[in-house]
């Protein structure tokens, strides 16, 4: 008695499952060597900044609203918080950007005025305006998923670039290039 189907299949068919298995192993090895990007990027690049209006976060400085971002000037909108350690790390870079003539505006996430004041006194205050986002409302509206994050916003209020994480010293020229590009 011979099995009816067995004589029809060619001999290499026997190795097919093993080949598929080796293929899977290769796929797994590739996946382990190239981990997926963990950052959640904003899907709003190239789109206008949503409508928002935030009260002032720091004493003696105005708050921030969408209307402040559509006057024809390119700006860097920095999402930060006094409790955020990398935000202190990027402070010198924001100061450098300000010295280069960039208007830096801030959105302070879940921050107390007194703690923010200490943070600004210690790390410098590069901001022309700081809005208090105590419920992360503007953060969500911008598609931002953490602190610090920076958005280049052109003169028409369109988001042109999102930088996730602190701006490191070597990234300042790149940010300046993005700002110049947004100004064209």
């Amino acid at each position: 008695m011979t099995e009816p189907g067995s004589t029809r299949s060619s001999p290499w068919m026997m190795w097919l499952p093993a080949l598929i298995f080796v293929g899977f192993l290769g796929l797994v090895a590739y996946g382990l060597r190239n981990p997926a990007e963990r950052e959640v990027r904003s899907a709003l690049i190239g789109k206008p900044v949503p409508e928002f209006a935030l009260p002032p976060a720091a004493e003696g400085q105005p708050g921030l609203s969408r209307a402040d971002l559509v006057d024809g000037k390119v700006r860097l909108l920095n999402v930060f918080a006094s409790w955020c350690v990398p935000c202190a790390v990027e402070a010198p870079q924001l100061a450098r950007l300000k010295a280069e003539g960039v208007d830096v505006v801030g959105v302070a996430i879940r921050d107390r005025p007194e703690e923010l004041a200490v943070f600004l006194a210690r790390n410098g205050n590069p901001y022309s305006r700081i809005g208090a986002d105590n419920l992360s409302k503007v953060q969500f509206a911008l598609g931002s998923s953490g602190v610090p994050e920076s958005f280049v916003i052109d003169g028409k209020g369109v988001i042109r670039y999102q930088h996730i994480g602190e701006i490191r010293a070597e990234q300042v020229p790149m940010i300046l290039a993005k700002i110049a590009e947004a100004g064209q």
Binding site: R38, V40, W83, D111, E115, L135, S136
Partner: protein, 137 residues
């Protein structure tokens, strides 16, 4: 020894200093809506939204402040009568499909939905051929 223990204890209690600010959680981060039907709707949505910071948890499961703020926003918007799927759409518009745990059929995901059907059809036709051959023998 006691000193070391005290230090460990002190560090345990100092942890909130390293937490994300000293602001109390958003009003509706941990408070349910008064209307049970609306709360059920909100909770169902929260369980299928990804926490942006702790990405393998849903915002219903996570205690990080950013998840609390998102729960607050979802509860207040549902209380205001907004449709849960509209809120999901609003978030996908901002964060992409990754923020939602509810899979959608898109140009990138359709093979996932089609593959089982194709495999089933293939298995069905193989089976029929085998059974037919069995009859002939």
């Amino acid at each position: 020894m006691i000193r070391a223990l005290l230090l460990v204890l002190a560090m345990a209690f100092a942890a909130p200093v390293l937490a994300e600010g000293s602001m109390p959680p958003a009003p509706y981060a941990y408070r349910q809506l008064d209307d049970p039907a609306k709360e059920a709707k909100a909770h169902e949505l929260m369980e299928t939204l990804r926490c942006l910071q702790c990405q393998s948890q849903s915002i219903a499961d996570s205690d990080v402040p950013i998840a609390g703020d998102m729960r607050h926003q979802i509860r207040t918007r549902i209380a205001a009568g907004e449709d849960p799927e509209a809120i999901r759409g609003w978030l996908i518009e901002r964060y992409g499909d990754y923020v939602s745990y509810a899979p959608r059929v898109t140009s990138a995901t359709w093979p996932l939905f089609a593959a089982p059907l194709i495999l089933l059809a293939l298995a069905g036709s193989l089976m029929r051929r085998r059974l037919k051959r069995g009859d002939e023998a």
